[in-house]
Structure formats: structure tokens, C-alpha cells
């Protein structure tokens, strides 16, 4: 058992898989000797050498194109897109090529690859380095989407992603890199498509993802003081989506709140709301409420960024208002 940061867990999770399987290789900008701009790959270059941990030019289309071509010819690449915002410069490779080629070829090719990226706000980096793009990826058929909220999940979900034979967009929450937790020794392997119920309550169900998970947990503690007892579900992956757990937990409380960092329109919570409004409509005791960043780009100033992203205070307020309506 050791205390690890979320950041350190990235490298540990990758190392675990690279030790096991020679076909796992890494590619990205500054991931080698420098250990990555978020220090997520520290030590891997020393352990696995320059042929397995390769620095690239600033050429995101080449990075992901290379990962795709390698995945279809026997490797299991882990590619890094430094900031999730940069998916926009290589979105064709992600959305049109990697996501579609298995289906188009009637299953002739597979894409066992992982694309890691620093996701989300909170670091005052401004609108082009702070986006939460989990919804960009969820929207495209053919991509799996994983967003861990803690160090243990980072390792287990990384292992599951690397071992998966489909392309996985693995979003690392920048705001959580420094968060710490106790991590068991030995191999950790998790499963994609399983949500975690982190807290069980009688009154309302909050569903959260990534950086919004600890905030939702903190909000649940405060709400408990107000007498509102909440379930908190950590979705962990958007595709596959653990609809079973969500429907069960909403069914048991009758109230759904989604807590989303992405801007409002077509955040993942919209999909969840539509599923629940169709499949669990008669279980609902009140409106579905989505707590999101407003539909704006993220501002740089700390004061403004803090207002934009759902805070513990805003979550408490929204839930409390709706439950007392």
C-alpha cells in the first residue's frame, strides 16, 4: 500500500501494462525524458527506453495516425494528446478514421489503442487549454470513453483500456493530477463500463464524472447536514455506459441530478437525462436537473473560472433548491 497521486498513478498504470506486453508502446510530445508536461509519464522513458516511449514533433495528426496504423498492424499504442483541447487539430483521425474503420471494414481491422489526454479546467489556463471534451468523444460511434476520478481507478481503468481491443479515449482530469490516495500494491485491473456507487442515499441520485466526483461527494456531505441524503454515482466511463446502475440508483431515489464539467449543451448529462426520461420515467418523483458549466468558453481569471465550473456550493444549492421545490 502506498500513497500515490493521480499523476503518479498514470505512470504506474502504464508501466504495469508495458511490463506485461512488449506490443504496448507510447507516443506523444515531450513524453520521453521530460516525463510529459503534466509529469504523467515520469520514469517510463528510463524503464522502457526510447523505442517504446517516443517523443514526436508537434503533429497531432501524425501522432494519432501513427497510433492507428500501428494498432491495425500488431501494436497496442498509447498516444498522448497533451491537452484535450488539441483533439480539435486531429479530430478527423479520431472521429472519422479510428472510430469508423472497424465498422466500415465489416470487422477486418481492430484498433487496440489508448489516447490519453489532459482534460478539463481549474488550472486557469483559459479557453483553449481547459475544455472538458468527454462529450466530443461520447458522441462519435466507435470510441470508448473513460474518465477516472481517483488514483486507483486510474491504474485499473488504464489496464482495462490498454487490454481492450477497441479505441479508448482516456481523459485525465488536470484538476485531479495532484490528488492523492492509498493504492494497493500489485497488479490492478479494472473493467470498463462499470459505474461506482460511492455513497448511497435515500433522497436523490447525483451522477458525476472525473473532477466532478469529489465535488459531488463533498456536496453530498453538506446536503446530508441539511437532511438531504444523496446517492453519488461515479460514472467512470461514458462508453460503455453503465445504464443499469444509473437506472437502479435513480429508481431507488426518484431524483436525478447530473454534475457535469462540460458546457451545458450536449454535455453527457443530456444523454443520461434522455435515457432516464424514457426508461425510468415512472420512477421519477421530480424534474431531472443538470448542474453544468454554463454554455460559455472557460475564462482564464481564477475568479471567473471558479464561478463557471460547478462548485461544491453550487451543487448543494441546486440540489437543495430542487428537492425543496
Amino acid at each position: 500500500m502506498a500513497q500515490l497521486t493521480y499523476r503518479e498513478a498514470i505512470a504506474r498504470g502504464i508501466a504495469q501494462e508495458m511490463q506485461r506486453d512488449q506490443s504496448v508502446v507510447m507516443i506523444g510530445e515531450d513524453i520521453g525524458a521530460a516525463g510529459g508536461v503534466f509529469k504523467g509519464t515520469v520514469g517510463l522513458f528510463d524503464e522502457f527506453g526510447p523505442l517504446r516511449v517516443r517523443d514526436t514533433p508537434i503533429s497531432e495528426q501524425a501522432i494519432l495516425g501513427a497510433a492507428m496504423g500501428a494498432a491495425m498492424t500488431g501494436l497496442r499504442p498509447i498516444a498522448e494528446i497533451m491537452f484535450a483541447d488539441f483533439f480539435a487539430v486531429c479530430w478527423d483521425i479520431v472521429a472519422n478514421e479510428i472510430a469508423k474503420s472497424r465498422y466500415m471494414t465489416n470487422g477486418q481491422v481492430s484498433f487496440p489503442l489508448v489516447i490519453r489526454s489532459g482534460n478539463g479546467g481549474g488550472l486557469r489556463f483559459g479557453a483553449q487549454h481547459s475544455q472538458s471534451v468527454e462529450n466530443w468523444a461520447m458522441m462519435v460511434p466507435g470510441l470508448k470513453v473513460v474518465v477516472p476520478s481517483n488514483a486507483v481507478d486510474v491504474i485499473g481503468l488504464m489496464a482495462a483500456s490498454v487490454r481492450d481491443n477497441d479505441p479508448v479515449i482516456f481523459l485525465e482530469e488536470k484538476a485531479l493530477y495532484a490528488s492523492k490516495m492509498d493504492v494497493p500494491d500489485g497488479e490492478i485491473v479494472d473493467e470498463l463500463g462499470k459505474a461506482s456507487v460511492l455513497r448511497q442515499g435515500a433522497d436523490a441520485t447525483m451522477v458525476a464524472l472525473g473532477n466532478m466526483v469529489p465535488r459531488s461527494m463533498a456536496a453530498a456531505e453538506k446536503l446530508a447536514e441539511e437532511g438531504i441524503d444523496c446517492t453519488v454515482v461515479d460514472l467512470r466511463s461514458l462508453v460503455p455506459l453503465d445504464v443499469t446502475t444509473v437506472l437502479r440508483e435513480v429508481g431507488s431515489t426518484g431524483h436525478l441530478f447530473t454534475v457535469e464539467e462540460n458546457p451545458r449543451l450536449l454535455g453527457w448529462g443530456a444523454e443520461l437525462a434522455s435515457i432516464v426520461a424514457e426508461e425510468a420515467f415512472y420512477d421519477l418523483d421530480g424534474p431531472i436537473v443538470r448542474i453544468t458549466t454554463p454554455h460559455i468558453p472557460l475564462p482564464a481569471a481564477d475568479a471567473l473560472e471558479d464561478m463557471a465550473i460547478p462548485s461544491v456550493g453550487r451543487i448543494v444549492e441546486s440540489v437543495s433548491k430542487a428537492m425543496n421545490a
Binding site: 508502446v25 523505442l51 517516443r54 514526436t56 514533433p57 503533429s59 497531432e60 495528426q61 501524425a62 494519432l64 495516425g65 501513427a66 497510433a67 492507428m68 496504423g69 500501428a70 494498432a71 491495425m72 498492424t73 500488431g74 501494436l75 499504442p77 478527423d92 483521425i93 472519422n96 478514421e97 474503420s101 472497424r102 465498422y103 466500415m104 471494414t105 465489416n106 470487422g107 477486418q108 481491422v109 481492430s110 487496440p112 460511434p141 466507435g142 481492450d164 481491443n165 477497441d166 463500463g193 462499470k194 462508453v239 460503455p240 455506459l241 453503465d242 445504464v243 443499469t244
Partner: protein, 335 residues
């Protein structure tokens, strides 16, 4: 470097007759496919290589069976030249279950992994970095396979082209890029929107590569430069880019009669048609008229057989719709 049509003959007559047969197969297959469009049996779009067959045939002849091809939406020729049988290709155009991809990909996405045909890509430029990835895999695994990537002259102005060329060069990847310069994009002349005269060759130096132009209507000349490039790649000496000059006889795609091109230009290039030209050359170097006619009859019959077999395929049902999005064979996004 410009190689001419009189590049050293590395072919014996048998190989030459094969090269003729391949070119003719591409020609007759596509001509027949075009009929089927007109009969409205082939839906959607398609892009023919009529007039450009010497490139696909010459390059394929220079490849090892375990090498990889990455093609564009204009990929019938490149797919067939690697030895993919005609029936599944034709059936794919017809959208039948006996198609290469059971109709799910269509004309623009022909793929046959079994034959090293690693896909046809319909977004300009995307497959250049993907080909780099296959080459990286060969390099890492030490298999000495080579990736060959075809693209058009109009594709040299898209970002992915640039990223791929630099990437291939710095990692010394075993990849050969082949620009089929048919002078036109869709309805716009490439020279009107490109800052250099030779769209690929004049940019090779920007990636530390040699400038190579070849007559793309001469299959043997193409074979010669492609072999050299492939062998360099196989030997670990890195990528090459070849610009092969050619012309498409028809329009850009099914819907296009190609009328924006001056008649004189079309006539000039029809006169350089690689297939009659190679036929004449074969007679010069010892082939008999009978041999050639036999091949021609054979190919015609084979194409007809393929059409019949393709037409006999089933129309895909719902079970095809929801399969093979994921490696587990299914398409479910929920548990």
C-alpha cells in the same frame, strides 16, 4: 530524378504479360462497374482510375505480399492490383453480403487485410499518417514490411500530408508515398491552387527527401522507381515520395462528365493511354497478337463472371447493421 519509359527492363516476357493482364483487369473491371452505375445497380459514388492503371499495376508488382497498401476513395485499382479477387470488390460496389465488407464500406473504403490492402480512405490526407503508423509497427517489430501510400496531386495542400512526410522522415520509416498526379482535383486544376509546379516532387526537399518524378503511364517505369524506393525502405533507409504523372480519362466521380477539361488536353492524354501503349510495346518485345488476345478474352470473361457472382450476392439485412462496431462483434454502447 526523372526516370523515363526506357528504364532498364527487369521483366521477362511472362512478367510483362502479367503486368498487361493486371492493367487490363483494372481497366475492364472499372469500365464494367461504370456500366452498372448507369444501370443504377451501383448506388452512391465511385471514383475510377481509368487511364491511371499503370501506377497501381507497376507499384503492386514491386511489392511483397506482406507489404501494405493504403489507398484513397479512388482505390479500386490499387485493391485489385494487390490480388484481391474481382467478385468481392464488385459485390461491395453493389452493396451485397459477398462484398469485401458486406456493403458496409462501399466503393470508397475497399479493404482486404488478407491481401495487405489496409484500407481506402475518403478524407483527403488522413491515410498518410496512418501509413506511417503501419511502417512504425514494421520497424518496431523488425518485420521489414513496407507501407505504400497512394494519394492525388490535390492532396499535397492538406495539413496531414505535411505532418506525415516530416514524421516519416525523422523516424526513417519504411513507407513509400506515391502521388498520382493526374493534374486535377475534382473540378479545379491543381496548379491553380498549388504554390509549386510539381506538387509532390517540389516539396520533397522540405522533408529532406529526394525529388522523384516518373511517367505514371508506363508501368515498367513505375515499377522501377517503386522497387528502388521499396527496397530502400526495406533496408532501413527511410521513406521516399514518388510523383507519377498521369491523367484520369473520365470525370472525378460517377456524377461528373469531366467537361471542365479542355478537349485538347483530354485528347492528348487519351493518346498516351497506358494500356494500348503497353500492348504495342509488348508486341515489339516479342509477345504475339494471339497471346494478347487470349489475355484480353480471359480478362473479359473473368470480369463477366465477377459481375454475375457479385449480383448473386444477398442484400445485407439488419444483422449486418448492428455488428462489428466493437471488437466483440457487437455495437452496444450500454451494459
Amino acid at each position: 530524378m526523372v526516370t523515363s519509359a526506357t528504364a532498364p527492363a527487369v521483366f521477362d516476357l511472362e512478367a510483362r504479360l502479367d503486368l498487361y493482364r493486371v492493367q487490363l483487369t483494372l481497366r475492364k473491371f472499372e469500365a464494367r462497374a461504370y456500366d452498372l452505375f448507369l444501370e443504377n445497380l451501383v448506388k452512391g459514388t465511385s471514383h475510377l482510375s481509368l487511364g491511371q492503371e499503370a501506377i497501381a499495376a507497376g507499384v503492386a508488382a514491386a511489392m511483397r505480399p506482406d507489404d501494405w497498401t493504403f489507398a484513397t476513395y479512388r482505390g479500386h485499382a490499387h485493391t485489385l492490383a494487390r490480388g484481391v479477387p474481382m467478385t468481392p470488390v464488385m459485390a461491395e460496389l453493389l452493396g451485397r453480403t459477398n462484398g469485401l465488407m458486406a456493403g458496409k464500406g462501399g466503393s470508397m473504403h475497399l479493404t482486404s487485410v488478407e491481401h495487405g490492402v489496409m484500407g481506402s480512405y475518403a478524407i483527403i490526407g488522413a491515410h498518410l499518417p496512418i501509413a506511417c503508423g503501419a511502417a512504425w509497427s514494421a520497424q518496431y517489430r523488425g518485420t521489414d514490411q513496407v507501407a505504400v501510400c497512394f494519394f492525388g496531386d490535390g492532396s499535397v495542400n492538406i495539413g496531414a500530408f505535411h505532418e506525415a512526410l516530416n514524421f516519416a522522415a525523422i523516424w526513417k520509416l519504411p513507407v513509400v508515398f506515391i502521388c498520382e498526379n493526374n493534374l486535377w482535383m475534382e473540378y479545379t486544376r491543381t496548379s491553380e491552387v498549388t504554390a509549386v509546379a510539381n506538387p509532390a516532387a517540389d516539396r520533397a526537399s522540405a522533408y529532406g527527401l529526394e525529388s522523384i518524378i516518373v511517367d505514371g503511364n508506363d508501368a515498367e517505369a513505375v515499377y522501377a522507381v517503386a522497387s528502388a524506393a521499396i527496397e530502400r525502405a526495406r533496408a532501413g533507409e527511410g521513406p521516399s515520395m514518388i510523383e507519377a504523372t498521369t491523367y484520369r480519362h473520365g470525370g472525378h466521380s460517377r456524377a461528373d462528365p469531366g467537361k471542365y477539361r479542355p478537349d485538347s488536353e483530354v485528347a492528348e492524354w487519351l493518346a498516351k493511354d497506358p494500356i494500348p501503349r503497353y500492348r504495342a510495346f509488348l508486341l515489339e518485345v516479342g509477345a504475339t497478337e494471339e497471346q494478347l488476345v487470349a489475355i484480353e478474352e480471359d480478362v473479359t470473361a473473368a470480369v463477366e463472371r465477377a459481375v454475375d457472382e457479385a449480383k448473386a450476392g444477398d442484400v445485407p439485412g439488419e444483422e449486418y447493421l448492428m455488428k462489428d462496431l466493437w471488437a466483440d462483434g457487437g455495437s452496444s454502447w450500454r451494459n
